[in-house]
């Protein structure tokens, strides 16, 4: 902290570029306004009066995937919905993150049957899983704060070759193909 000591009380803080970028990314995430089932109601409750997720910078729910950087998969994903969900994910610009909210999105939940995708990580890469059926709004907020912690550890060099991490992951075969 040599510079600050020399500069005296001038209100200057030094940090890393990575720190600033990641800080910016966590403090104003724009989730996609996209609810599937029961969990969406708790997500709404999280947005509403008592829990007020905008305290954590999640104020602006964007209905368009083009303007969102966080996808909260709130609810069960059926086989008919899966291609739609994947397309929405692909339409989001990088960098982007996914929270699987609730048991159904995480692992299929109580529905081990023909209709429900057994965990949304079969079709999109998930950063944080939130347990509960449905999770309380506090649990969702906690999940998003966990995601913030994760983002703070991101390296800019992950994106250095101009290729988004997810695409690189897909090429390595880390992501399962759709279908």
């Amino acid at each position: 902290m040599g510079l600050e000591e020399k500069a005296g009380d001038l209100g200057i803080v030094t940090t890393t570029l990575e720190g600033v970028v990641n800080w910016g990314r966590t403090k104003a995430m724009w989730p996609m306004l996209f609810g599937l089932a029961c969990c969406a109601i708790e997500m709404m409750a999280g947005q509403a009066s008592n829990y007020d997720m905008s305290r954590f910078g999640l104020e602006l729910m964007r209905a368009s995937p083009r303007q969102a950087d966080l996808m909260i998969v709130a609810g069960r994903v059926s086989r008919k919905m899966a291609p739609v969900l994947r397309r929405l994910y692909d339409q989001m610009p990088e960098p982007k993150w996914v929270v699987a909210m609730g048991d159904c999105a995480s692992c299929g939940g109580v529905y081990n049957n023909y209709a429900i995708v057994q965990g949304v990580d079969e079709i999109v890469p998930v950063d944080v899983y939130v347990a509960g059926c449905p999770p309380r709004p506090e649990a969702l907020i906690d999940g998003i704060l966990q995601l913030h912690e994760k983002i703070k550890r991101d390296k800019i060099t992950d994106h250095a070759d101009g290729k988004p991490v997810r695409i690189e992951q897909a090429e390595r075969g880390a992501l399962k193909p759709l279908g």
């Binding site: 306004l33 996209f34 609810g35 599937l36 089932a37 029961c38 969406a40 109601i41 708790e42 709404m44 409750a45 509403a48 009066s49 008592n50 209905a63 995937p65 609810g75 069960r76 059926s78 086989r79 008919k80 919905m81 739609v84 929405l88 109580v110 529905y111 049957n113 023909y114 209709a115 429900i116 059926c133 449905p134 309380r136």
Partner: protein, 422 residues
């Protein structure tokens, strides 16, 4: 009011593929006008879930539209066939996730009807109380999202504030905020906690003036009236022919509420009014539902007065073939232990046959048809989902309306996609 059965009036409900066919053969007419095919949803903020609408537009006007459902198909009815009767109660919660208690109620009531199982009076009264609180809960979400769709954002925050109070009551009672799974065949899962009744009383006292607050925001609001008055009119004959139920039907002037016409759980002994509309437009549906919240408070208060007299009475039947014995009995009664073991390992066996039970859910007539083949698993369970049947009225109502009114129409029908697709 006696309505005669209509032959099908001039109601056309296109399919999504018919709308898609329009897109293939979409040539401009002699005036150079061409219709536009718009796919609204399944990811759309105003379709209340994952509903997709295939809309054919002529400028701003809807020529025809077709709802494309199934994006939330969960296979609940099929899954129920693989589980015992009691285990499936948790699945019914997740159909109409705004009113889980109504789903629980119709499912257990259908089984009770099939087994000719009586329910203790205290359990019935508690059920009525919980069903009415659920109705308020569901209507609050409807009111909030409906107003939000028409850009009245404050109402959403007001409504969700009171809803949290209800969720706290549910949590105190069952441990879960939304998915309560509290009803059992023959009664309820466990007794109410000691401070349940005072909390509900507090809530009702707190809540009633809040309904006036919502009405202050909307009922005489010029913008609200312009968007809702005379929009999306369904006349009584069409409403009946389309199979509408609940507030959607009553707003058209048909006095039909299953709590009055086919009472269950002792509803015939409560004093309450059924709000009935006149015009069948969005505004009347709004007025009906808001008034229903006040009537629900009235019923809940009567139920509380009765519950105070019933302290100590059983909350579930003492028929050990259906309801498990209390834990304390198991330690000294061999027979109780056997009953407990049989119920948890195998489940009970209703007689061969079938039963249909319908109740008035916040959305309308929810029905449950149970077919038993005498085994511990149901052979078939079907739900008559009011959202699904109300939604099929949308192409009829929205025909020729403005695209902007379509958003208001969807919200006023109040579909829950979890129940539509099941």
């Amino acid at each position: 009011m006696v309505m005669h059965a209509h032959a099908y009036p001039n109601i056309e409900i296109p399919t999504p593929s018919q709308i898609a066919a329009v897109a293939l053969d979409n040539e401009p007419d002699e005036n150079g006008e061409q219709s536009m095919i718009l796919s609204m949803g399944p990811q759309h903020p105003s379709t209340h879930g994952v509903l997709r609408l295939a809309v054919e537009l002529n400028g701003e006007n809807v020529v025809q539209l077709a709802p494309d459902v199934g994006f939330l198909h969960t296979g609940i009815e099929k899954t129920i066939e693989t589980k015992t009767y009691t285990k499936s109660i948790v699945l019914t919660d997740r159909m109409d996730y705004l009113a889980p208690m109504s789903n629980n109620m119709v499912y257990v009531a259908a089984i009770e009807k099939l087994m000719k199982q009586d329910v203790p009076e205290r359990a019935q009264t508690l059920r009525v109380l919980l069903l009415e609180i659920t109705r308020i809960n569901s209507h609050l979400v409807w009111l909030g999202t409906h107003a939000l769709d028409l850009a009245a954002m404050s109402v959403f925050f007001y409504a969700m504030r009171e809803r949290e109070y209800i969720l706290d009551i549910f949590e105190m009672l069952t441990g879960a905020r939304m998915m309560t799974s509290y009803f059992r065949v023959g009664g309820l899962a466990w007794d109410i906690p000691a401070d349940f009744i005072p909390t509900v009383e507090d809530f009702l006292t707190h809540f009633l003036p809040k309904v006036d607050e919502y009405e202050d925001l909307l009922t005489n609001n010029l913008l609200w009236k312009q968007r809702t008055l005379g929009v999306g009119v369904v006349n009584a004959a069409d409403a009946i022919a389309l199979g509408l139920s609940g507030a959607n039907l009553r707003a058209s002037g048909v006095d039909w509420d299953l709590r009055k016409t086919m009472p269950y759980s002792g509803y015939e002994t409560y004093q309450f009014d059924v709000p009935v509309g006149y015009n069948g437009d969005i505004y009347d549906r709004y007025r009906c539902r808001v008034q229903e919240m006040r009537e629900s408070v009235k019923i809940a208060r009567q139920a509380i007065e009765r519950l105070k007299q019933m302290h100590g009475q059983p909350y579930i039947t003492d028929n050990r073939k259906v309801a498990p014995p209390p834990k304390s009995e198991i330690t000294y009664s061999m027979e109780s232990l056997i009953h407990h073991f049989k119920l948890w390992t195998e489940g009970f066996r209703p007689p061969r046959g079938s039963a249909y039970m319908a109740i008035e859910s916040p959305r309308g007539e929810i029905g449950c048809y149970v077919v038993s083949d005498g085994t511990p698993q149901p052979w078939r369970v079907h739900f008559r989902a009011p959202s699904f049947i109300n939604l099929q009225a949308l192409p009829h109502i929205a025909k020729g309306k403005l695209m902007a009114d379509l958003v208001a129409l969807i919200a006023s029908i109040d579909p829950v996609l979890g129940e539509v697709d099941r």
